[in-house]
């Protein structure tokens, strides 16, 4: 009986100690984590889907950028709805300078309406003239 009691107390302690430490945060600031994997980096001059699974429903047919008459960057992207139903997506762009430095914050979330099996072009402009690269983000309309 005594043995059983001692063993059970030990089990209880073992279970409760890690249970407590797991949920108590340490004070102070946390160090940021940098994750260097191809999946997490901003793929410049490409499109990134923020909503999981959306990339299976929306295809990126083509992307590109041209200089305007005033030397700003015009970015465009052609999307295709791969499904048999209408979809709404939100698209925005961030611009990067010559050293791949982000030099212009993301511009407005543009809403695109894609008819079933249809295509739609997203088009946006940088404000500055030193934008060289772009990164387009796509998410599902909430």
């Amino acid at each position: 009986m005594k043995q059983l009691f001692v063993i059970s107390v030990l089990i209880l302690l073992l279970l409760s100690v890690p249970g407590c430490t797991r949920y108590y945060l340490t004070e102070g600031t946390a160090v940021g984590t940098r994750v260097d994997t191809p999946a997490t980096e901003a793929r410049l001059n490409r499109v990134g889907f923020l909503t999981k699974g959306l990339e299976r429903r929306i295809a990126v047919q083509n992307t590109g950028a041209d200089r305007t008459a005033t030397n700003t960057l015009e970015v465009w992207c052609l999307f295709r709805n791969r499904t048999n139903y209408d979809q709404q997506i939100m698209v925005r762009t961030q611009y990067f300078g010559p050293a791949r430095k982000p030099n212009e914050g993301p511009n407005e979330w543009q809403t695109l309406f894609l008819p079933s099996n249809g295509i739609e072009t997203y088009r946006t402009y940088s404000a500055g003239t030193d934008a060289e690269y772009f990164y387009i983000e796509v998410k599902e309309m909430p």
């Binding site: 059983l4 009691f5 209880l12 279970l15 945060l25 407005e108 979330w109």
Partner: protein
């Protein structure tokens, strides 16, 4: 006999205790000592450039931000407004911008943001004339000229700036109601007019359509 019953009871208590410990371990607890209830309150901040959760047909912050940033990009891509070498002088205010919509909107909310974003993005490529502050400027100039106040840090100018272009435009909408649903199509038109010739050198629109299901009480 009593020993067996006591042992069974002890086992039951132990199992019960183990289960309690396990269950409490699963529960998430507040450990920082700071109340988390504020994050669940209704007055929390929301990103202004995302659609509202209210889902009404009226113009919201997302529409204003979208229109402003779209126009900034397009105006700066316009070679007539954004000349290299000699910057053009423009007036961007709400004087010639009208709101002709069913829902009320303070047009300064839109125009102030447009001017501010355009000015910062243009980075000296366009000169902005504050015509709505003309009275304030003239009053200060008079005080300086009469010697009532000393000279400013900026050099004196014979005249204040004239403008080559001025913003004009309007917001209009079309509302349809039927079957318990309200649909509203809104158009924001922005134009830049040459103040010498009257030529419209820039024109673009931001358009959107929204629908809202109405409750029985509001039909």
């Amino acid at each position: 006999m009593n020993r067996i019953v006591a042992r069974k009871r002890a086992r039951a208590w132990i199992i019960l205790l183990v289960l309690l410990v396990l269950l409490s371990g699963c529960a998430t607890s507040v450990t920082t000592g700071v109340s988390q209830s504020a994050s669940r309150s209704s007055g929390k901040y929301r990103p202004p450039d995302e659609p509202s959760n209210i889902r009404s047909v009226a113009i919201e912050s997302y529409d204003i931000e979208s229109a402003c940033r779209k126009m900034v990009g397009k105006m700066l891509a316009n070679p007539l407004l954004n000349r290299s070498g000699q910057p053009v002088h423009v007036i961007v205010d709400a004087e010639y911008f009208s709101v002709q919509t069913a829902s009320r909107l303070n047009k300064n909310l839109l125009i102030d943001q447009l001017r501010s974003e355009l000015l910062n993005a243009a980075a000296g490529r366009i000169v902005f004339v504050g015509r709505e502050y003309a009275g304030m400027v003239e009053h200060e100039r008079d005080l300086k000229r009469t010697g009532a106040v000393g000279p400013a840090t900026t050099p004196g100018a014979a005249t204040t700036l004239g403008a080559g272009y001025r913003l004009g435009g309007r917001i209009t909408d079309l509302t349809n109601v039927g079957g318990g649903v309200t649909e509203r199509y809104t158009q924001m038109a922005f134009e830049m007019v040459d103040l010498e010739t009257g030529q419209i050198v820039f024109s673009d629109t931001h358009r959107f359509k929204k629908s809202q299901a109405l409750g029985t009480l509001y039909r």
